[in-house]
């Protein structure tokens, strides 16, 4: 009996200890999510093994890149092999599963062989990784950067180099729109007429009312609010009012926000949820993929997303949208002068070099960046396989991605009459802020919260989170 008692007690102790050990070991060892989808091909591993010896002898260093974009994981691995073939410098690429980059980076950096090249998501990300970011002011790649303002800087130092320009707006299906314009009493004659919120609203509401005539289920795709799927609203859409507020005050960041364009946010948000194929009450179960699929299958005419979403449209089985019909419309919210507004253009992908890696490894990483964005092979991968619009002067006009949305981004950017909305959400205080705002929006969409409460809470939360992360 005594033995049994002892056994029970030990078991109890072991299990309770597990409560804490479980939590702490999660950050120490590799996250399983990262591990399972991490893509390191056997080929590049073998490559590394054979060349690592020689390279070390020549003092060339080696590269370990932690990739952020799971959708191009295989291409990065292929690219790494190619680079090793050409230069003999061993290169390893690992990919964090969607949404786990910070976690994976945290555990990878603590390892004996940490990533030498990684990415931060802007000024807020830089705050977390400042100790690990090398000053890239003198690097060749910074010299090639077209718009130096885009880089992440602090004081004189340059700590993050943007490597891709992305744009988002309202993606529309031109075939559906043409069908509508052909109807009697259409509120607009062509897409050119839709250049402000009032027209957009009139058109969207008329289309919704006559959806059976046009053959759609709703104008807008689902306003996805499943857990972790609300970034199109709490981050991307929220960028517009913040952009205009910053612009009015001529600043790039604020400790407290007035959210004075909240009504404009409400305009477009209401339009989305009330003229959709999905009942506002059901949005809590929808994810981004659902929305993109609805668009791809021709069930809806419009969906808010960025040029990275092309893969999600073209990859849907049985999609009915033709490549030439996929176009961008700026997100109009009813701000005065918005007829001249273009897409939201920016990036939250910045390369950083690990300042705590050995000098050879740092140099190797810089050499790789130089190669990637200026050699023929590298540039070919960037534009044609990774599909990035690269913000460097090494790319000629004909070296641009050819998917329809990237072409649209380019069309808007090169139109001198339009101004682009920059990405200011990189200055949003924290993930917690975004999550809270998203939750608030969902409750509003479901009818459980007043709009004024959403605004008040958003403002309070902004100030609070800014203060807490000081």
């Amino acid at each position: 009996m005594k033995l049994k008692k002892l056994a029970v007690l030990t078991m109890a102790a072991a299990m309770t200890a597990g409560a804490l050990a479980g939590c702490s070991s999660g950050n120490k060892t590799e996250t399983t999510a990262g591990e399972t989808t991490a893509a390191v091909t056997e080929a590049s591993k073998a490559e590394e093994a054979t060349t690592a010896g020689e390279a070390a002898a020549e003092g060339k260093g080696q590269i370990y890149y932690l990739n952020f974009k799971p959708e191009v994981a295989d291409i990065w691995t292929e690219l790494a092999g190619k680079y090793t073939d050409e230069t003999g410098v061993p290169m390893k690429v690992q990919t964090a599963a969607a949404g786990t980059y910070e976690q994976t980076l945290k555990s990878e950096v603590a390892k004996k062989e940490p990533p030498t090249l990684f990415q931060i998501n802007g000024p807020i990300g830089y705050k977390a990784w400042a100790k690990y970011c090398l000053d890239l002011k003198d690097s060749a790649i910074y010299g090639h950067l077209l718009d130096k303002d885009m880089a992440v800087t602090e004081g004189d130092g340059v700590y993050g180099i943007p490597y891709v320009v992305e744009g988002y707006g309202i993606i529309y299906n031109d075939a559906v729109m043409q069908k509508y314009f052909a109807l009697d009493g259409a509120k607009a004659a062509s897409m050119e007429d839709i250049n402000n919120f009032d027209t957009l609203k009139a058109v969207a509401e008329d289309m919704q009312a006559r959806k059976d005539e046009i053959g759609i289920e709703g104008v807008f795709a689902s306003t996805s609010f499943a857990p972790g799927e609300d970034w199109r609203w709490q981050t991307h859409l929220a960028n517009l009012p913040i952009y205009y507020e910053y612009k009015d005050d001529n600043v790039g960041d604020k400790d407290a926000i007035d959210f004075k364009y909240s009504d404009n946010f409400k305009n477009i948000f209401d339009l989305y949820i009330n003229n959709s194929c999905t009942d506002p009450k059901m949005t809590g179960a929808k994810n981004v993929e659902d929305s993109m699929a609805e668009f791809a299958l021709g069930k809806v005419a419009m969906v808010q997303n960025g040029n990275w979403g092309w893969g999600q449209v073209s990859g849907v089985e049985g999609n009915t949208v033709k490549e030439e019909d996929v176009k961008f419309l700026p997100i109009y919210t009813g701000v005065s002068g918005e007829e001249k507004q273009g897409l939201c253009i920016g990036t939250e992908n910045f390369f950083s070099v690990n300042s705590q890696a050995s000098e050879e490894d740092q140099q190797a990483a810089l050499d790789f960046l130089e190669w990637l964005f200026s050699s023929e092979t590298g540039k070919d991968y960037v534009t044609n396989k990774l599909g990035f619009i690269a913000p460097f002067d090494t790319f000629a006009d004909n070296e641009k991605p050819v998917d329809p949305l990237a072409k649209e981004v380019d069309r808007y950017m090169s139109n001198p009459e339009l101004y682009s909305v920059s990405w200011n959400f990189t200055s949003f205080p924290s993930q917690t802020f975004k999550d809270n705002f998203g939750a608030s929006l969902l409750q509003y969409a479901q009818g459980g919260k007043e709009w004024s409460a959403v605004v008040d809470e958003m403002k309070a939360d902004w100030a609070n989170e800014k203060a807490m992360t000081k």
Partner: protein
Amino acid sequence: MQKSMKRYFPIFVLPTLIAFIIAFLYPFIMGIYLSFTEFTTVKDATWVGLSNYKKIFLDQNFINALVFTVKFTVVSVVTINVFGFLLAYILTRGIKGTNLFRTVFFMPNLIGGIVLGYVWQLLLNGILAGFGVTLSFDAKYGFMGLVLLMNWQLIGYMMIIYIAGLQNVPGELVEAAKIDGATKMQTLFRIYIPMVMPSITICLFLTLTNSFKLYDQNLALTAGGPGRQTAMLAMDIFTTFYGRVGWEGVGQAKAVVFFLMVAVISLTQLYLTRRKEVES
């Protein structure tokens, strides 16, 4: 025999001990240490004393999560054990197909929490769609969903433990009670339940700690939604850790507090129920 056992004790225990130190003790101590520091990765920690602990209560999230967790734990511990015991009682009556039923009831326990969470999310959302709402519409749906899911998963496991306990109740005791004229209810409460007290101790302990520490099911089913209203303690710790720049240590401090709570609660429970155990 006893003597040679003693002599070789260190050799036999060594592999497990090493594994225990590496996988348990070291992370555990490291975890406590990190709760007093500010860090980005575990290697560059700087000592900040108790400030992380002070920050725990800066927002309401921890308290809200605690309240939700306690509510959930109370409801699920009661329901799981009552249903588990009832099933065990029924399936030791020698009815037809007992073995099949036991297997079927045990099977949900073999499925991982995340998978289970997503499957139930689909099922519940499918049902709720009929009423025009979703799981994240109101915290009460998330709460009920979690209780339902937890019951479904753990009842079978607890049932097996109760069955083992019930089968060990000596037949002569039951028979003697019958001859003395005890009713079915009296036999249940006066003979069976006191005799399976060791099983109850284990089952209460398992359900209590499992419900209190729940994470995967919580993540997969509601992910805390709406807002953070259905986030339990473990999830709150995780979101604190990654939710704000520089708050890793606070998450860690919450984890230490969490550990102390689980330890105190479960040890109290063990002490209380063990007192009730009887020898036959």
